[in-house]
Symmetry: C2
Subunit: 199 residues, 2 copies
């Protein structure tokens, strides 16, 4: 097996990109269509497309680099033919949903959230002020709720102790956490727990 990790910037990405670039041209797409009918010489292709031979040769070279066509020498002709397996392989494999996320650069933390946290959390991790905008407030609540362990129950007193690390107004925080379903409370008593994230 190969080691792709070190210094190799996603060969799959490069390959996919050159595949799309190879086919992202009117003339080259038509060449694919021509070669799907039968293998042909460069001159023949250029006549069918109304292009000069040199331009056609250039296009064929690009398709060839992407592995979509290949040429065999026959006399002083180059007879190009379609690599149907390659074409099939690319169209089948590479755009499968499960492979797509790998195309992305490392996911960046949400810009909006970072902005809000920068604006309302001080260096000690405490909430400086409560934003009026609900969306921003929710960001803070999600930040706060991380202080609670999943699958653990807390008394109201314990909850308040933890919330006090963020802001003196523990009542509002506690109430909001429950309101927005980030924490759950058992009906009458003082039992709290972090709501399961999976919906």
């Amino acid at each position: 097996m190969k080691e792709f990790k070190i210094n190799d910037p996603q060969p799959a990405f490069i390959q996919l990109l050159s595949f799309f670039k190879a086919l992202a041209d009117e003339k080259r797409l038509k060449i694919i269509g021509l070669l799907a009918q039968k293998p042909q010489s460069v001159e023949n292709i250029s006549a069918a497309l109304g292009l000069s031979v040199s331009t056609t040769s250039h296009h064929l070279s690009r398709l060839s680099k992407a592995g979509l066509v290949s040429a065999r020498a026959e006399g002083y002709y180059s007879i190009y033919s379609l690599n149907t397996e390659k074409l099939h392989q690319m169209s089948q494999q590479v755009l499968q949903p499960q492979n797509l996320p790998e195309l992305a650069p490392e996911a960046v933390e949400d810009v909006f959230e970072r902005k809000v946290l920068n604006a309302f959390i001080d260096a000690e991790g405490r909430i400086k002020a409560f934003p009026a905008q609900q969306k921003k407030f929710l960001v803070l609540l999600r930040y706060v709720v991380n202080a609670f362990e999943p699958d653990t129950t807390y008394t109201e007193k314990e909850v308040n102790e933890i919330l006090l690390r963020f802001n003196p107004d523990t009542a509002q925080l506690r109430r909001s956490l429950v309101e927005h379903h980030l924490m759950s409370r058992e009906g009458g008593g003082g039992q709290y727990w972090r709501t399961d994230e999976t919906p």
Copy 2:
């Protein structure tokens, strides 16, 4: 609204081309990867890609025109998400081998053959001279053999009469036609017929 219908050359071709063009860019391919993870705002995407917001917006617009992503307004955000069905549909359907030939322009008659015929056949359809190159000579033979009906037997005399319309050297023509298996001859007698083309 615009009228797209009239003079619309192969909508399938156009659609396929714009599909490939949409994905033939590094940044846009990465956007696909990002949106495959989760729907995101323009600002978030631009941060992940290291691009300006306006450039990102432009890329998203291109992807959107190709039908690969769509946006929903949420507050003053545009949350873009991936159209996975469309992506799946395109990658599955459109590059299937049986559809490929339709991408080509109307097939042009073979350039080499046309050249040879122009060079060696006069205005009356007669062979001006016999080319030394075997490949060219074969083109002439295939041209000549069309004067014979399929599934018909001819005597040697009839064959010579027909060949005389092309060139006085009927003996060479007759012999070459048989040699190259364009016509068949019954063992001893003088019965000739056009060889069936299907191999």
